[in-house]
C-alpha cells in the first residue's frame, strides 16, 4: 500500500492520530499513550496493513518528554510504518507493553526500561537487562551524569 492509502485507512480507525512524512523516509504516526496498544494491535491484525514484523523498538529522550518509536514492516505487503508515542511524565513514564503482539518486544522493552526508565504495563518480566539491579539512574537519558565512567568532551 502507498503511504497515502495507509494514512487514509489508519486515520479511519482512530481520528486523533497525527501523520507526517516530513524529515523521514517512512510514514510516521504519532499516537497518545492511551491509544497506543489499540493502534498497534490493529496495525498487526488488519489484513490490509498486516504489520507483523517489529524490526526496531527505540527509546527516546526528547528532553521535555520521553518516548518510544516502533518501526513496523509487513512481511506480506512490504510497506513500513513508524509509530511514535511520547509522555511528559519523566518521573514515572509508562506505556502499554506490546509483548502480546510481537514477542520480540519483550527484550526490546527491557532494554528501553534499562536505559531510559520507561515502564511497560503488562510486561511479563520487566527488570534490568544489561545493567545490574543496583544501578542508579538511566544512562541513555540526556540528563544522566556519571563523572567516573563517562568521558565528556
Amino acid at each position: 500500500m502507498t503511504n497515502e492509502a495507509l494514512q487514509n485507512l489508519i486515520s479511519s480507525w482512530i481520528p486523533e492520530l497525527e501523520f507526517t512524512e516530513e524529515g523521514s523516509q517512512f510514514l510516521n504516526i504519532s499516537v497518545k499513550p492511551e491509544q497506543l496498544h489499540q493502534l498497534l494491535s490493529q496495525l498487526k491484525s488488519n489484513a490490509e496493513t498486516s504489520l507483523d514484523y517489529l524490526f526496531c523498538l527505540t527509546g527516546m529522550d526528547y528532553e521535555k518528554s520521553l518516548g518510544v518509536i516502533y518501526h513496523l514492516e509487513s512481511t506480506t505487503h512490504r510497506h513500513i510504518v513508524v509509530v511514535k508515542v511520547q509522555t511528559e511524565d519523566r518521573e514515572n513514564p509508562t506505556f502499554d507493553s506490546v509483548c502480546d503482539i510481537w514477542r520480540t518486544a519483550e527484550f526490546h522493552e527491557r532494554e528501553v526500561f534499562d536505559f531510559f526508565g520507561i515502564k511497560f504495563n503488562n510486561h511479563p518480566n520487566l527488570k534490568r537487562l544489561f545493567l545490574t539491579d543496583e544501578w542508579e539512574g538511566f544512562p541513555l537519558r540526556k540528563d544522566y551524569v556519571d563523572e567516573i565512567n563517562m568521558v565528556i568532551k
Partner: protein, 373 residues
C-alpha cells in the same frame, strides 16, 4: 520421568545452574540462567551486559566519521558490513551520489565478509557438537580472506575501510587476483564441509528436529538472517531492500522450511555458494572511477530521522539516526540481529536437553558484542 525413579522414593526437582559467563559454548561473555529438571530444560534466561560499552551513548558524543569505527566492535565478524550500514545512512541523509566503483567494491567486500563469518561459524559449530577438525578447516579458508583484508585495509579483525562518502583508499593491486584465487580454492574446499560434517549421521541426529522454530514465531520474535530463513521466512534485506550494487547481481535467497537446527545450518552452507556467485559476477567488472566523494571535514546531517537496514552475516542490522542538524547525532540506535535472535533462545530450547541447547545456540550464530552494544 523414568519409571525406576517413579517407583522408588527418589524425587526429581527443579533447580537452576549458571551457564557462563565464561562457558566455551556461549562464544563470549554471555550468561544463561538455566532452570532444569534433571537434564530437561525448563527455562533459559539470558543475563546480558558483561561487555556492554554503551556504544549508542558514545555515538551521541562523536562525529559521524568516528561513529563508523565503533561499529566494527559490535559484530566483529561483520565489521565491513557494519561500517557500510553507518556510511549508507549518512550518505543517504546527505543525498550523496556514490560512485559505482565504491558500490561494487563494497558489495564484494561485504560478501567476502559473509563467507569469512560463515566459515568461522561452521568451524565453531562443529566444535560445539564435538567435531574438532571443522575448526581447522574453517580457519584455514578464513585465513585467505583475512589476508585479502589485511592487504586492503591493514587490519585482520576490527577492519575499517568504509568512510562516509566512499572508501578510505583504492583497492590493493593484488585484490582482484587474490579474490579470484580464493574463490577457485574455496570451490574445491566447500564440498569438503559437506563430506566432513553435513553428511555425518551423528551430527544429523544432533541437529534434525532440534530447536524447532515456526515461521510465525520467527517473525514474531524478529528473527532475521539465516535463523529466519531456516524457518522459511523470506527476510533477506539484500533482496527486499537492496543497497550498494546488490540490485545489479542475481542470486537466490536460500530458504528452508524445516525450522530446525539442521535447516539453519544448511542455509549458511548454501549462502556461501550464493556469496561466491555474487563475487564472481562483480569481480571482473569493477568500474573505473573515484573511490570517494568529497565531504566536509565536519559532517552535519540535516534535521530529521534516517534509517538504513543491511544484511550482515547474522541478519538484519538497522541504523536509526535522529539528527537535530548538528555534528553529532541526537540519538543513534543500532538494531542488532543478534539481540533479536537471542530472544528466541528460550523458546527453542525449552523441553530439550542441555546438549541440544548448545547445538541450537550454535545455529543462532550469536556474537555477544553485537548483543551487548
Amino acid at each position: 520421568m523414568d519409571t525406576t525413579i517413579k517407583n522408588s522414593n527418589l524425587k526429581s526437582e527443579e533447580y537452576f545452574i549458571n551457564m557462563g559467563p565464561q562457558h566455551p559454548a556461549t562464544h563470549g561473555v554471555l550468561r544463561l540462567l538455566l532452570t532444569i529438571d534433571g537434564e530437561i530444560i525448563k527455562k533459559v534466561e539470558p543475563d546480558l551486559g558483561y561487555i556492554h560499552r554503551s556504544i549508542e551513548k558514545m555515538c551521541e558524543r562523536d562525529s559521524y566519521q568516528q561513529i563508523v569505527h565503533l561499529t566494527d566492535r559490535m559484530d566483529y565478524l561483520s565489521s565491513h558490513i557494519n561500517n557500510e550500514a553507518v556510511c549508507l545512512t549518512v550518505e543517504n541523509a546527505l543525498q550523496l551520489e556514490i560512485p559505482d566503483r565504491v558500490k561494487v567494491i563494497r558489495t564484494i567486500i561485504g560478501e567476502l565478509t559473509r563467507i569469512a563469518s560463515h566459515t568461522l561459524w561452521w568451524g565453531v559449530m562443529g566444535m560445539d557438537v564435538g567435531a574438532l577438525t571443522t575448526y581447522f578447516y574453517g580457519f584455514r579458508d578464513r585465513e585467505m580472506i583475512n589476508d585479502i583484508f589485511e592487504e586492503t585495509c591493514g587490519a585482520r579483525l576490527t577492519m575499517n575501510y568504509n568512510i562516509p562518502g566512499g572508501l578510505m583508499f583504492d583497492i590493493h593491486p593484488n585484490f582482484v587476483k587474490r579474490t579470484k584465487e580464493f574463490i577457485a580454492h574455496f570451490k574445491t574446499k566447500l564440498p569438503e564441509y559437506d563430506t566432513l560434517l553435513t553428511g555425518n549421521v551423528i551430527f544429523q541426529k544432533r541437529m534434525k528436529g532440534v530447536g524447532m522454530l515456526t515461521k510465525e514465531d520467527a517473525i514474531s520474535f524478529g528473527a532475521s538472517g539465516p535463523v529466519g530463513r531456516g524457518s522459511g521466512y523470506s527476510c533477506d534485506v539484500r533482496k527486499h531492500h537492496p543497497y550498494s550494487a546488490l540490485d545489479k547481481v542475481t542470486f537466490n535467497e536460500v530458504l528452508k522450511t524445516e525450522g530446525d537446527s539442521f535447516a539453519r545450518y544448511q542455509v549458511r552452507i548454501e549462502e556461501m555458494w550464493e556469496s561466491m556467485s555474487i563475487i564472481e559476477q562483480l569481480i571482473d567488472n569493477i568500474p573505473e572511477g573515484d573511490v570517494q566523494v568529497a565531504t566536509n571535514a565536519v559532517i552535519k546531517l540535516p534535521k530529521g530521522e534516517f534509517y538504513q537496514k543491511v544484511e550482515t552475516a547474522r541478519g538484519e542490522l538497522g541504523v536509526y539516526i535522529n539528527s537535530t542538524g548538528t555534528k553529532n547525532p541526537y540519538r543513534l540506535k543500532f538494531r542488532s540481529p543478534g539481540f533479536s535472535n537471542l530472544s528466541l533462545l528460550n523458546h527453542i530450547a525449552v523441553g530439550g536437553k542441555i546438549g541440544d541447547l548448545v547445538a541450537s545456540m550454535a545455529t543462532l550464530d550469536l556474537v555477544i558484542p553485537d548483543i551487548d552494544r
